[in-house]
């Protein structure tokens, strides 16, 4: 029972989504932008993000009366500008043979010009908008189904939903439409959502509707895992860019894949749903907390982080290829000193430092008190300038090295706190099951948060994710 409660803390619920993530991160202006499809389309396009082409928009009854329906292409999508959750969207796939203004929908039912007019009138009245205020209707080009997805999709166009937080794509799912969902990929309408491995863009587990786990497309033996999404890197980058452009701190980005044009951005979503967690069989809350406060420099950097942090498979793949282990900025290590003395501490991984340094007090506990006391007695110049640092070091080395068997070396270290002379000793540590033998310099670190920093000389077997 208690364990289940602990586990449930990894999951993002409605209350937490609204209060912790949407409220502080999605400001009113950004939310209004996401709710306004035409406006967000324009903004995305201006910033170099590909979107489906706009065919025509109808703002008023007069526009509708003057509109020439015969000019519409044979396939298009009719949308309300402020529609909610896929409501009021009408998709047609082609003209009926030998008929001027009759189109065919996904379920083969026919749509006449009168049907379109009525739908547009309802849109203009605001029947589908969030607050029932008058709305604008627009026609846009239909995304063409790619060969990759053809076997999996029933009439509709699949799209990839990516949750982006703090410029890192945190979780993603592939949404497929089914017979029941009327060619729309909305999960509430009975669509399928497949979890995606962030590193490789390959689908893993799948859910249909709100919570039913499935393995194959219903009624077939087509497996839903292992679908490789083409141009995955680009899709993730588009999602992060859309976040930067839109200002939505907590974004659900919908990206589709066009047969000819590749990734196209469909929609910004300020209130993304929670089913993505079931599709991925993982909680969002832990992932969101993981990326909170990270400094992300660019879209590429954000995507790289996501692949390292949340890509289950690639991490192992990477370790297999290069033998490197992926570690964080702070890691638990076990220090092994003289005569097998052991000590477990938290170390800061600092690629900015060249060598590893250990706190003097800690070194005493590890059996180095002899060398520390010896080093304390050595006469050292009080003031060292950058110029004579090298000479002093040579001088000290010549005089005192080899007089104590634990004193491996003497170093002059230039750090933010000044220039200091430090003794070096042989010490080994175990990090992530990997043993490293190193020459660590000893220094006063009692006031600092971590008693050990590991420098880049000792990180050859590791890959640091920031």
């Amino acid at each position: 029972m208690f364990k289940a409660y602990q586990k449930s803390k990894t999951i993002l619920g409605m209350n937490s989504r609204n209060l912790t993530f949407i409220r502080p991160n999605n400001l009113k202006r950004a939310k209004r932008l996401a709710d306004n499809k035409l406006k967000s389309k324009r903004l995305l396009k201006k910033n170099g993000i590909p979107v489906p082409g706009l065919i025509a928009k109808i703002k008023t009854r007069q526009d509708l009366d003057n509109f020439d329906f015969s000019k519409l292409p044979s396939s298009f999508v009719l949308k309300p500008n402020m529609g909610l959750g896929g409501d009021g969207i009408l998709v047609v796939y082609g003209r009926k043979k030998n008929c001027q203004n009759i189109w065919v929908k996904a379920d083969r039912s026919l749509v006449t010009e009168d049907d379109l007019r009525n739908q547009i009138r309802n849109i203009l009245e605001g029947s589908f908008s969030r607050t029932s205020i008058p709305d604008i209707a627009f026609f846009e080009e239909r995304v063409k189904l790619s060969r990759v997805f053809k076997p999996y999709s029933y009439k509709g166009i699949p799209d990839v939903r990516v949750i982006v937080y703090n410029n890192v794509p945190v979780m993603a799912m592939l949404r497929l439409s089914t017979k029941g969902s009327e060619g729309k990929a909305n999960l509430q309408l009975g669509g399928i959502g497949c979890g995606i491995d962030m590193a490789t863009g390959t689908t893993t587990s799948a859910v249909q509707g709100k919570s039913k786990l499935i393995e194959c497309i219903p009624g077939t033996r087509l497996s839903l895992s292992g679908i490789r999404i083409p141009r995955w890197q680009e899709i993730l980058e588009l999602a992060v860019k859309a976040q930067q452009v839109s200002g939505l701190g907590f974004l659900g980005a919908d990206v589709a894949y066009d047969r000819d044009d590749g990734p196209v951005f469909l929609e910004l979503n300020a209130r993304p749903g929670l089913s993505i967690q079931i599709a991925n069989m993982e909680g969002l809350l832990t992932r969101l907390k993981r990326v909170e406060g990270l400094k992300v420099k660019s879209a590429k950097h954000g995507v790289k982080l996501a692949k390292n942090l949340f890509g289950g498979e690639i991490e192992e793949e990477l370790e297999d290829i290069s033998g490197k282990k992926v570690i964080g900025v702070v890691e638990k290590i076990k220090l092994i000193g003289k005569n097998g003395a052991e000590k477990e501490v938290e170390a800061k991984i600092d690629t900015g430092a060249y060598s590893t340094s250990v706190d003097i007090e800690l070194a005493r506990e590890l059996g180095f008190e002899g060398v520390i006391d010896y080093f304390d007695k050595i006469k050292k110049p009080k003031e060292i300038t950058k110029k004579d640092g090298k000479n002093i070091m040579e001088d000290l080395r010549a005089k005192y090295l080899h007089k104590n068997k634990d004193l491996l070396d003497i170093d002059v270290v230039y750090s933010s706190s000044g220039i200091t002379v430090r003794p070096k000793v042989k010490i080994s540590f175990v990090m992530d099951n990997e043993t490293v033998i190193t020459r660590a310099n000893l220094t006063e670190r009692a006031d600092l948060k971590y008693p050990v920093i590991i420098g880049r000389r000792d990180l050859k077997k590791f890959l640091v994710e920031v």
Partner: protein, 223 residues
């Protein structure tokens, strides 16, 4: 007998029943908020269920018994939803615009309610026939909410939300009819401020809702 505040209100001519009902309102909305945030039952927002609870209470006052309130209240509620659904299905083929369509649905629902009251009288259900206009009007306004949800989220969601609303209304009604609670509210009217404090906690609550625990059951097991 009552707290000084309630005594004073009554001595100034405010009926005791009114004072009690008004003091009950913060409790009722707290119950609805609790159901939304902790249990995860949505219903039609907060306003509609609160009104329906008061409609139930008004029916109880006229029918004279707790079960009378539930019986007649549920009967009127059910009629409104059932007729609303049928009317919408019937009107779909005419392709009307939103407001005129809702207007027709409301008209049909009111006439059906009247018919039901007459039928109730014919079958000697005098309690039903004598229900005053106030609760009936409230129930009829439910139709607009119902039709809006039908259009936006589909018929199934609308029926589901109606059942949730009915459920919350019956629970809220039962609590609001609880003699002990009424007694305490009359004795200690400041209890309504406790309700506000609880609401602050609910407003900061970020845990999973009960409905989400059920929805994510497999996921919780798998993590």
């Amino acid at each position: 007998m009552y707290s000084a505040f309630v005594e004073y209100a009554v001595s100034q001519g405010v009926p005791l029943g009114t004072v009690t009902l008004i003091l009950m309102l913060p409790i009722v909305v707290l119950i609805i908020a609790f159901f939304r945030q902790v249990v995860g039952i949505k219903a039609f927002g907060i306003y509609t269920p609160a009104l329906i609870i008061f409609a139930f209470l008004a029916i109880k006052a006229e029918a004279g018994s707790f079960w009378g309130g539930i019986r007649y209240g549920t009967a009127i509620f059910g009629t409104v939803i059932a007729v609303g659904t049928l009317a919408r299905i019937f009107l779909r083929r005419f392709r009307l615009l939103y407001l005129p369509r809702v207007a027709i649905v409301i008209s049909i629902v009111s006439l059906s309610t009247l018919l039901m009251l007459i039928l109730g009288g014919m079958f000697q259900r005098t309690g039903l026939a004598s229900v005053s206009i106030f609760p009936i009007l409230i129930m009829i306004t439910l139709v607009e909410k119902f039709v809006t949800v039908q259009i936006e989220k589909g018929g199934k969601a609308a029926v589901y939300l109606s059942l949730e609303t009915l459920f919350i209304s019956i629970v809220g009604y039962s609590i609001a009819s609880w003699a002990l609670l009424i007694f305490y509210l009359q004795q200690y009217p400041w209890l309504v401020f406790v309700a506000i404090v609880i609401n602050i906690f609910l407003g900061k609550w970020t845990g999973l809702r009960l409905s989400e625990v059920i929805r994510f059951k497999k996921l919780i097991k798998n993590v």
